[in-house]
Symmetry: C2
Subunit: 303 residues, 2 copies
């Protein structure tokens, strides 16, 4: 079992969904990732919060395998985001993004973090992703996320970091935009040429697609009767996926496919309540039951 390092945002999120709203709850990509990954392994968090981030809010990380040595606390306000989802949850409008202390964030790895073998670079400026990577001593497996903003705005910085990662974990729209290909198979091959040997494509309510030596592995999302809030589902997936990989001690096709299920199972919980709520009260037994649900959802006997 290996520890995993992640760098990304810790934020205050407000969201309005067809089933209600929540205001100023703790979120951010690195938060969802860390909480999810900590179900499987030790997590080392690199992020920044403002002095408005209270001890009470810090409790989302408490009693979990999350090392906060790399969490900077600086004067100013914490990153704030607000979004509103459409009736069918398929589109989301950003109401505001206030970077606040995140605007000047310079990730600095504590010495104790430098030898971490597994690294996840959450969605931040690709130049910062590269900078973090440079601070890690010989990482074994590095995955990154990104978004349309960096694909359009900082293509060169993005290309530079893509050349240094083992895996890219993005959604289908981003895969199409980054590759310029509408067909996902072609999109995947094009992105692999940019550096990452492994591409994991998140398809929201349609599940996940992963490249492998020959062809793909794919899993549908678990059909859920009640979806309350999809915020953070993608980062939760990444946390479950990477956390499981790091915990497995070796990387092979069977481990990778199970890691996809681990991520999918955690993401299926994440959407069942606002923000981190469902993940924070998730028990290992409930998680194990959901692994079985995914097996039942997808299993068939060979024809």
């Amino acid at each position: 079992m290996y520890p995993i390092l992640t760098v990304g945002s810790v934020a205050f999120d407000s969201m309005k969904t067809p089933l209600g709203e929540a205001s100023r709850v703790v979120g951010g990509a690195a938060t969802y990732f860390s909480v999810a990954a900590s179900f499987f392994t030790d997590v080392r968090l690199v992020a920044v919060v403002g002095d408005d981030f209270t001890e009470d809010q810090m409790r989302v990380f408490a009693d979990r395998r999350i090392d906060l040595t790399g969490l900077q606390r600086v004067p100013g306000e914490t990153f704030r985001w607000k979004g509103e989802y459409s009736c069918d949850f398929n589109t989301r409008e950003t109401i505001y993004t206030h970077l606040n202390v995140f605007d000047a964030f310079q990730p600095v790895l504590p010495d104790s973090y430098r030898p971490t073998p597994f690294v996840f670079l959450a969605n931040i400026h690709p130049a910062l992703q590269s900078d973090v990577l440079t601070q890690v001593h010989q990482p074994q497996f590095v995955a990154a996320d990104t978004m349309n903003y960096w694909i359009e705005g900082t293509p060169n910085d993005l290309r530079a970091v893509l050349g240094r990662v083992d895996a890219l974990i993005i959604n289908d729209e981003e895969a199409r935009q980054l590759s310029g290909e509408s067909n996902l198979v072609k999109a995947a091959r094009t992105i692999q040429q940019m550096g990452p040997e492994l591409l994991v494509i998140k398809r929201g309510e349609h599940g996940v697609l992963m490249t492998r030596d020959r062809g793909f592995f794919a899993v549908p999302a678990l059909p859920l009767e009640t979806v309350i809030d999809p915020t953070g589902a993608g980062d939760t997936f990444a946390g479950g996926f990477m956390g499981y990989l790091a915990s497995a001690g070796e990387i092979n096709d069977a481990v990778m496919t199970r890691a996809i299920i681990a991520g999918s199972a955690l993401a299926s919980f994440a959407v069942e309540d606002f923000g981190l709520e469902r993940l924070l009260r998730l028990t290992p037994d409930a998680l194990q039951d959901r692994f079985s649900e995914f097996k039942r959802l997808t299993h068939f006997e060979a024809l």
Copy 2:
């Protein structure tokens, strides 16, 4: 192994896709269904063509297990349809629909068809679907398709036939429209209340979702590098699904899940060329290989 009866359209299709176009090729829901189902069992076709439907065009049915006793040939022109697909294949515009001889179609079952245990009512007026059902002697398993046109235009006729079928095979948009629910789990439960115990939801490039005793079975579509023409993929899926069920001799959960794979595999071939082309040159060995591809695409070891 049981034979299967289907009623629906046989048509001349013209289509324009991002990768080319084809003009006046043999298509229609009942055609795709019959060719697909005939890979597994004997098919009894009930449909109508005009006197412009040549012997040469009739060859799509030749040397297959398709009984044409119920195929009426009447004076006039065959049903004609033309459609154009968007760049990403996700939307399709109908350029024209000329019902022609299909407009006055009155399905009449030959006596030899009446005892058929498996029945598929393709997408035609729900009153005609009911009429056909009345002509069958004690069918064991009946499935139907429908479309937005009937959901909006003839809701009472549709409700009447839904009360008489075992299964409904429709796409996700139709499921949402018919149920008035945007969540597919709720949509499925609502539609089951209307009659069909089994609901199979086709999600295009995202695969298929099927209700079962507890929860769902889901399979992603096979990621394909080249999609030429999606016309008929849904009816091909239905043909593979129903044909496999009828050939299995019994209906249980394991058979149903394999039938979903059979349908998905056939549909994955259908889109690889225009119209029926790929299905017409499909060999049993290639089909068997694709079953294995679906297993590899989706299989993971339990966590």
